[in-house]
């Protein structure tokens, strides 16, 4: 084979290979990647047990939460309990038990956190404290438990919100509850309360 023929063959092969590669990478693959199944985690709080509906000031009550992911495996699923009448958790909220794969963490007043089911990287400032237990990942049909002991800071109605959010949040099924009150994070919550009376 002459050198010029060889050069032509190699050049054609190179152009064909690169055309194939870039066409596939730039035009076909994005469509293919977007057609891949996006997981839909479905969080479910099967039980939120409160030990007392009324307590004397200075006493504590227990909260026990059982949470399951009934959908696809979540990259990250949270169970959060927010305390509207507290200014801080230290000395007022104690984690008595949990079996989540990671340690629960505290959200303090003033912390910057995601909102609107983490639909963007934007954050919002927390106006009240919360405890967030989470699984990363949270496998399908796996159940975790969280136990808290809470001591209200003042007399009156002690209110707390409970919710669970699965991520990626690609469907309305990926949050629990699916309706009701909306908190400052623009997310649905279940509202619970305990009456705190004079001793």
């Amino acid at each position: 084979m002459t050198t010029s023929k060889k050069t032509i063959i190699i050049s054609v092969a190179i152009v064909a290979s690169l055309t194939f590669y870039f066409t596939l990478s730039v035009f076909y693959l994005p469509d293919f990647y977007q057609s891949l199944k996006t997981p839909i985690p479905i969080p479910f709080l099967s039980e939120v047990k409160i030990s007392e509906s009324m307590i004397h000031f200075g006493n504590s009550f227990d909260i026990e939460i059982t949470a399951t992911n009934t959908g696809d495996t979540a990259d990250h699923q949270t169970v959060s309990v927010a305390f509207l009448n507290l200014t801080q958790t230290e000395g007022f909220v104690q984690i008595t038990k949990y079996n989540f794969p990671q340690s629960p963490f505290l959200i303090q007043v003033g912390d910057e956190i995601n909102y609107d089911y983490a639909s963007s990287e934007d954050t919002i400032t927390a106006p009240y404290p919360a405890i967030e237990a989470y699984g990363r990942p949270w496998e399908s049909n796996v159940t975790y438990h969280l136990g808290l002991k809470v001591t209200p800071e003042e007399l009156g109605t002690f209110v707390f919100y409970v919710k669970s959010v699965g991520q990626p949040h690609t469907d309305d099924l990926s949050h629990f509850p699916s309706d009701g009150l909306i908190d400052y994070q623009r997310e649905f919550v279940k509202v619970y309360s305990v009456n705190v009376t004079e001793p």
């Binding site: 290979s17 590669y21 990478s25 693959l29 996006t38 997981p39 990671q102």
Partner: protein
């Protein structure tokens, strides 16, 4: 008669001495090369495990220092340290000569940094909890690995090309001058493959250094070392294709053989698949497409092997640069997401966000990527010519 006997005896003694010296030299050289290989393999294991560790943090958020990737990472450190000891032992008779001091020094400084970084990293975990990608201990570790990998690679290359006793062999072993094939066919297999083993850890550790200043994985409870998203995107757009192109040009330029660039590139893709894609099951369907990036590697390899003209070498660099957006998948998604898509990139959504970036941003990025790829070839040519000057000084 007596004189002739004496001459013959002297000649025989000299011959025996030369044989002994050659034997000793060969033995030292072998030990030196084994040391370099162990360092390269150790650094390769460490840096690959670090990639797996990043993925593990993304998926599982481990809360303990004692994880499987960390175990492998420090196993690699042990192997590299062992290699540096072997390299040091062979130093007196072999590595102490001329420019062999340079690889030795790089390895010693690099391994010392790596060894110091281990307990520093552990104490950092104890003091500040979970650390991010960029932390002082990680920076020392990665830079130490980078130096050690340069030392090991240059040691392997110098050992291949330098032979003070076996001058005839030296001539055979010399790397080919541009456009003048001189290479020994016998040496092609093992020594060329050794250069792949030497180059891969350098590529991966240098990538790690670039990732430290471009990936948003360094915001922790105690410190926020995350780079500014715009800076990160610019830094990655220049740095990643430049590195890819330089490294692959070096893999070609240290051997001047078709196939070595492709093997180096394929090995990088394979390591990336093993450490960043297989652990994240949502990325598994994308593996076969990811491996298609072997195509531009083979094309660049063909161009470089077939033509020695500068302009075609730059074309090869441009091709390599343009495919860096695909080669550095999946982590590159996080870099450009900070500027273009602004999504929260959960591990199961990486492919989706990457595809959005490909549609919206690749056309904007491809120009700078090509330019950086060309600059990579220029840098690679400079390094090769500079290393040849070093070799000439050794002679």
């Amino acid at each position: 008669m007596r004189s002739r006997t004496s001459d013959t005896s002297n000649s025989a003694e000299k011959s025996t001495q030369t044989t002994l010296d050659e034997e000793k030299y060969r033995h030292s050289k072998l030990k030196f090369k084994i040391g370099c290989i162990l360092i390269s393999l150790g650094v390769l294991l460490t840096s690959s495990s670090a990639g797996w560790d990043i993925t593990n943090h993304l998926i599982n958020k481990p809360e303990t220092f004692f994880s499987t990737p960390h175990l492998l990472l420090y196993t690699g450190v042990v192997v590299a340290t062992l290699g540096s000891v072997i390299m040091f032992v062979s130093k007196r008779s072999f590595a102490n000569q001329g420019k062999f001091k340079l690889p030795m020094r790089l390895v010693i400084i690099g391994i010392l940094m790596v060894v110091i970084a281990g307990p520093f990293d552990y104490n950092w975990h104890v003091a500040f909890g979970l650390d991010g990608l960029l932390s002082p201990s990680h920076l020392i570790l990665t830079f130490g690995l980078f130096l050690a990998s340069i030392g090991a690679l240059s040691g392997l290359v110098f050992a291949r090309n330098f032979s003070p006793l076996l001058t005839s062999q030296k001539r055979e072993n010399q790397i080919e001058q541009e456009g003048k094939p001189k290479q020994s066919v016998v040496l092609l297999g093992m020594d060329n493959l050794l250069s792949v083993i030497g180059i891969l850890p350098l590529w991966i550790t240098a990538t790690g250094l670039l990732y430290m200043f471009s990936l948003p994985f360094s915001d922790t409870q105690s410190f926020d070392f995350n780079p500014d998203p715009t800076f990160a995107a610019i830094f990655a757009t220049i740095g990643l294709p430049l590195l890819l192109s330089t490294i692959l040009y070096l893999s070609y330029g240290l051997n001047y053989r078709f196939g070595i660039l492709s093997i180096t590139g394929a090995a990088f893709l394979l390591i990336s698949i093993l450490t960043t894609m297989i652990p994240n099951e949502s990325l598994v369907p994308t593996i076969s497409f990811y491996f298609l990036s072997i195509i531009p590697f083979v094309v660049a390899d063909t161009i470089l092997s077939y033509s020695k003209t500068k302009s075609l070498q730059y074309v090869a660099g441009g091709i390599l640069g343009s495919c860096s957006f695909m080669v550095y998948y999946p982590f590159i998604t996080y870099v450009y997401n900070g500027v273009f898509t602004h999504d929260v990139v959960f591990p199961s959504l990486i492919a989706l966000v990457y595809s959005e970036l490909m549609i919206s941003s690749y056309s904007l990025l491809v120009g700078p990527l090509i330019v950086s790829g060309i600059l990579g070839v220029i840098l690679g040519r400079y390094i090769i010519s500079h290393s040849k000057i070093l070799e000439q000084k050794i002679e």
